[in-house]
């Protein structure tokens, strides 16, 4: 029985001859990784053995690599398990040496941990995720406490605030966000005006579109969109920056030099967001109103003058303040989560990416939760 294996050029052969009570397995050709599939198949297809003596003849093998050597050794070991001692015939010391090397190193590795029953695994995952959320909430609360202390201390001792990084982060998170925040708010103003007009036109009270735009933008949309933008822009940047520093052991270096990372890294970022978010929210409000006004002029024939007069009668100062009051709180939350996740990075660069994603999702989630709480609070207060 002769079996060709592999494709032309990479052929390894297994030939089996019975010679009295000696079973001779003649190997030939290329015994390399490229031919291993065919050889493996040929070896598995070999008939069961009735002879007591086996000789493996490698004289015709032209090339041997680790994969081929492993296949030879595996055959010998399998025969040994059946109580048959196989004799290896080879005149090439390189071949016997390689088989020897392989045999010394062929230690089976432990099986990978088996996968649990899918249902059990799902329950387990739900459980561990629940606990992870609870632990995370606890740790975030812990961090909140720490930050509040540091912030309060910085209020009492303002010289602890590092001016240069504060200005740097205000520029990065605040000033550089102006175009994108402005554009988005402007477009939202346009959309609100358009949607409102379409509905209100059915009742012939298009002028109330101004009320919709005013309260929509001033109370909710302006500040909420700004916060979401900053969570995506700055919160993620904070996590990535601090996380990378953590991977680089820069945070540890800071501690050994006697610098408090909370003061050097967290404090300026937090202050930057707490200061910039209200300013950006104000800008967003103005741009939103502008968008609404332009849309009203174009689509509803409401002039700028009419728009302004209606705006003045539809809003009170509180409409404006309700939006702006929320802004520093949102800024605080975004900075808190961004810095917290950054400091949680450990070990690999991979965890920087994972925690950056988490930081954005978490801060947007918390911002919207807080917004809902604010709505309830203001409703209770009747403003």
């Amino acid at each position: 029985m002769s079996t060709d294996a592999g494709t032309a050029g990479d052929i390894g052969t297994v030939d089996s001859q019975i010679d009295g009570d000696l079973w001779r397995i003649v190997l030939g050709g290329q015994w390399t990784v490229a031919a291993a599939t065919g050889i493996d198949r040929a070896l598995k297809a070999m008939p069961a053995i009735s002879q007591h003596r086996v000789a493996i003849d490698m004289a015709q093998v032209s090339a041997l690599d680790t994969a081929g050597a492993w296949l030879v050794w595996r055959t010998i070991a399998a025969l040994k398990d059946q109580g048959i001692e196989a004799e290896l015939i080879s005149s090439n010391p390189a071949h016997t040496g390689l088989i020897d090397t392989v045999s010394r190193n062929a230690v089976p590795c432990p099986e990978p941990p088996r996968r649990r029953n899918a249902f059990v695994a799902m329950i387990e995952r739900v459980g561990s995720a629940t606990f992870a959320v609870l632990y995370e909430a606890r740790d975030l609360l812990n961090f909140l406490g720490h930050v509040v202390i540091v912030l309060a201390r910085s209020l009492v001792q303002p010289h602890r605030i590092r001016l240069t990084p504060l200005i740097f982060h205000m520029e990065q998170s605040g000033l550089n966000a102006v175009p994108i925040v402005g554009l988005i708010s402007f477009l939202i103003g346009v959309v609100l005006a358009f949607q409102g007009a379409e509905q209100l036109a059915q009742f012939g009270v298009e002028i109330f579109t101004v009320n919709i735009v005013a309260s929509g933008v001033l109370r909710e949309m302006g500040v909420l969109l700004t916060a979401i933008m900053l969570a995506g822009r700055s919160g993620s940047a904070f996590t990535a920056q601090i996380g990378t520093m953590k991977v680089n052991e820069e945070i540890d270096a800071m501690r050994t030099i006697g610098l408090d990372p909370m003061e050097v890294l967290v404090l300026p970022r937090m202050w930057a967001l707490v200061i910039c978010l209200p300013l950006l929210a104000f800008f967003a409000n103005m741009m939103g109103l502008l968008g609404g006004a332009i849309m009203a002029t174009i689509a509803l024939d409401i002039t700028f003058f009419q728009f302004a007069r209606q705006l003045a009668s539809a809003t009170t100062l509180w409409t404006f303040w309700i939006g702006i009051i929320k802004a520093p709180v949102f800024g605080f939350i975004i900075g808190l989560v961004g810095c917290y996740e950054g400091l949680r990075v450990s070990g690999s660069a991979e965890s920087v990416g994972r925690l950056t994603t988490r930081s954005v999702v978490e801060s947007i989630f918390l911002v919207i939760i807080l917004d809902a709480l604010f709505s309830i609070l203001f409703a209770e207060l009747g403003i």
């Binding site: 291993a36 492993w70 390689l98 062929a106 070990g347």
Partner: protein, 266 residues
């Protein structure tokens, strides 16, 4: 592989190589010939382009001019298919192993096998197990992720992956950097053993004088954008200031003591 007698065969030839980044020329007119079965060490001061040379030879950086002929083929003039075929015949170990972090060690080693052969999964795993044993990793490392391994183990795992397809040429980028002296010596020994067992050609960038004297047959010194190649003994006679400093500095004296006291390298 089969032909282990023909030690004179040239396996890699670099001619007239120029690499440059923007206006900065790293190598100019660089010539290097590597023979089958030898271990060659590339040394040079910081910024002389040792790693750049290695990366150029494995095809990661395109040279600005010159030819690199590896295993009889000019690597700068290959189409994608031929390049892949050539890539299967070389193995590269990057400085920190460059293991894929989302895969276990065994999966890392099996990846080239899975991509480039049609071996049944069981056989892939068996071969991976052999390689894990050959590079001296404990069996239980197979199911660990790279982040769970020490630096030395990551290097060994990276070496096992580089060896997965039984390459003819093995490129090593600072294989002993960051290892403790015992680990580094063991790694050197491992490279030497693998060379003997698999008839490998090894090209390694290194700073480690112990490695150079223990296992390298020849040494290529990067100087003034070119290489000067010689054996340890001939380079020690070289009067060029940097080379003299390198092989006669206080560290060199400690590492090379055995050469002067009569100990012979393998």
């Amino acid at each position: 592989m089969a032909d282990n007698g023909t030690s004179a065969e040239t396996i890699l030839r670099v001619t007239g190589l120029r690499t440059q980044f923007g206006a900065q020329v790293i190598h100019e007119d660089l010539e290097l010939t590597i023979k089958r079965g030898e271990i060659i060490g590339i040394v040079g001061g910081s910024g002389t382009g040792k790693s750049v040379l290695l990366r150029t030879m494995v095809g990661l950086i395109r040279p600005a001019a010159g030819q690199i002929t590896m295993l009889g083929k000019d690597i700068t003039a290959l189409n994608d298919e031929a390049r892949t075929a050539l890539q299967k015949r070389i193995g590269v170990l990057f400085q920190d192993g460059a293991l894929f972090s989302s895969l276990t060690v065994a999966q890392n080693i099996m990846l080239p096998l899975r991509e480039h052969t049609d071996l049944p999964p069981a056989l892939q795993l068996e071969i991976a197990e052999v390689k894990i044993g050959m590079v001296g990793l404990p069996p239980d490392a197979a199911n660990k992720y790279p982040s769970e391994l020490s630096g030395g183990m990551r290097k060994r795992a990276g070496l096992a992956r580089a060896l997965a397809l039984d390459p003819e040429i093995l490129f090593l980028d600072e294989p002993t950097a960051g290892l403790d002296p015992i680990g580094a010596a063991a790694f050197d020994q491992l490279i030497g053993e693998l060379r003997r067992a698999l008839n490998l050609t090894v090209v390694m960038v290194t700073h480690d004088l112990d490695s150079l004297s223990a296992i390298c047959d020849r040494i290529a010194v990067l100087l003034d954008k070119r290489v000067r190649v010689g054996t340890m003994a001939s380079l020690r006679q070289d009067s060029e200031p940097w080379i003299h400093e390198y092989f006669h500095g206080p560290r060199a004296r400690a590492a090379l003591d055995h050469l002067t006291t009569g100990g012979e390298q393998q």
